[in-house]
């Protein structure tokens, strides 16, 4: 009896060591901005999911491609049909690590800027990316944001010569998580 009790105690202790402070958001906002000679294009997506593990310093995003809303519905159709091929590749994802996550204290007000690196998977192509994650805690409410610069050609997204002056070579992607909730 004593032995079982002891085992359970050890297991609980062990689990406690590995128990993580995980935070998530189901309505992370992902926007992209393309500034080119003849046209500025932007689209917004509020259906991304994000999970951050504040102990292990791991972070993941999942972004449904069809969730991107354009002001111009024809552009939206071309984005899905011709460029991102969302039937074939319905989601974009980011898997990354935040090595200095220890510097972030989500229970204390402040702005924490930490480097983040990982892999961005989009249109069936994976590429390493590095950026800065910004965690903001204001009156106990945690939010986060990050910015990526993406080149469509790196993800095998071909821009036809005819519209080359309408789509930027580098597209700015902004991720904003309004509220990080603890799991």
């Amino acid at each position: 009896m004593k032995r079982i009790f002891f085992s359970v105690a050890v297991i609980l202790a062990a689990n406690h060591c590995f128990a993580q402070a995980r935070y998530f958001s189901k309505d992370a906002a992902v926007s992209f901005y393309s500034k080119a000679l003849f046209e500025n294009i932007e689209a917004h997506n509020k259906t991304a999911i994000c999970v951050v593990d504040m102990t292990g310093g791991k972070i993941e995003f999942s972004v449904p491609i069809k969730g991107f809303q354009f002001e111009n519905s024809l552009m939206q159709e071309h984005f899905n049909e011709n460029y991102l091929e969302s039937d074939k590749y319905p989601k974009a994802a980011f898997k990354g690590t935040i090595p200095s996550v220890g510097n972030v204290n989500l229970s204390k007000d402040g702005v924490y800027k930490v480097p983040m690196s990982g892999t961005l998977i989009m249109h069936g192509v994976s590429n390493p990316v590095t950026t800065e994650a910004v965690f903001t805690v204001k009156e106990g409410v945690a939010s986060a944001s990050a910015e990526f610069i993406i080149k469509p050609e790196d993800y095998n997204i071909k821009i036809p010569a005819l519209v080359r002056d309408k789509v930027a070579k580098s597209v700015r992607v902004v991720v904003e998580i309004p509220l990080l909730k603890k799991i």
Binding site: K2, R3, F6, S7, V10, I11, A13, A14, N15, C17, F18, R22, F24, K26, T47, I49, V51, D53, G56, K58, I59, E60, S62, P64, K66, E71, N72, S73, L74, Q76, E77, H78, N80, E81, N82, E85, D87, K88, K95, P160, L162, V163, K166, I183
Partner: protein, 291 residues
């Protein structure tokens, strides 16, 4: 000590389990808890298959300027430059009032005919938790021809008008293949021969097969059930859609030169498989004019 070993072993095993989960996605469980629900879009490249209304709608605030040409019969040979010496055309403006309601006006050179229509989407194909297997649309329109008449009793405006209602039901079966059925009811206020009927029912169908991201093969066909003259034939068109940004070029071969519902249903008497084929094209240019 003896007691400790199994405990440590157990807790290690437990840690292993936790770590095993670690290497899986952090999103596991959370991602699945959100039911995916998305509309199926892009069944056709344009709001018309070739002649017929397609499953597609214009987006809100979009203006579609369309120029349609139908040339002469290809089997007229080199003397008529395979039909290209002669052409009839239709020009039209379509506008998306909302994402589900659009209107359009057009004019054809054939019989100097005006046409107008309204088209609405009742159901849109979607997948996920609120799955809808097909799209359903309705189009209603009117035509009036204004060519001078040499009949002893001149037809008035009413006599020159015709009306139609069309249901369009279809499905995007895969990324490449879309198919639609589009029964139509047409009423003309005046007919030219006694064997014709003023009200006729028509079966219609259309399909497209995408061969690449921007190129698709299309076809549409109509068959009037009754009430058209015996020498009337079923309009059949087979074409290629080429999309380049805001333009869609629809190049095709067809046995009709009619470009509105009344014209292609009641004014086709060429036989496609006898080589009475005309080359034609629809050019669609879409502008975003309102937010």
């Amino acid at each position: 000590m003896k007691k400790l070993i199994p405990s440590i072993f157990l807790s290690l095993a437990c840690c292993q389990l936790v770590n095993a989960q670690e290497t899986e996605s952090l999103l596991k469980g959370i991602e699945d808890s959100i039911p995916p629900n998305e509309k199926v879009t892009g069944a056709f490249k344009s709001t018309r298959v070739i002649n017929a209304h397609s499953l597609e709608m214009l987006g809100k605030g979009h203006l579609d300027f369309r120029i349609l040409h139908r040339f002469g019969r290809v089997n007229q040979g080199i003397k008529q430059f395979f039909g290209l010496d002669a052409a009839t055309m239709r020009m039209s403006f379509d506008y998306g009032i909302t994402d589900n309601v659009m209107v359009g006006i057009g004019r054809s050179t054939l019989r100097k005919e005006y046409d107008a229509f309204i088209k609405a989407r009742i159901l849109q194909q979607s997948k996920g938790s609120k799955s809808v297997p097909l799209s359903l649309l309705i189009a209603a329109g009117s035509t009036v021809w204004t060519e001078e008449s040499f009949e002893p009793v001149k037809p008035d405006f009413n006599d020159r008008s015709a009306y139609y209602v069309q249901l369009i039901a279809g499905r995007k079966f895969s990324q490449r293949l879309s198919f639609q059925l589009s029964p139509l009811f047409l009423h003309r206020n005046m007919v030219e021969t006694p064997e014709e009927e003023k009200s006729i029912f028509v079966l219609g169908g259309g399909a497209r097969y995408k061969v690449s991201k921007r190129i698709a093969i299309t076809a549409d066909y109509h068959h009037a059930l009754d009430g058209v003259p015996d020498d009337n034939t079923d309009p059949l068109s087979i074409g290629v859609d080429i999309e380049t940004g805001g333009h869609v070029f629809q190049l095709h071969f067809s046995n009709t030169s009619g470009m509105n519902e009344r014209a292609y249903i009641t004014q086709t008497n060429e036989k496609f498989f006898n080589g009475d084929i005309r080359f034609g094209f629809n050019l669609s240019r879409i502008f975003k004019i309102r937010k």
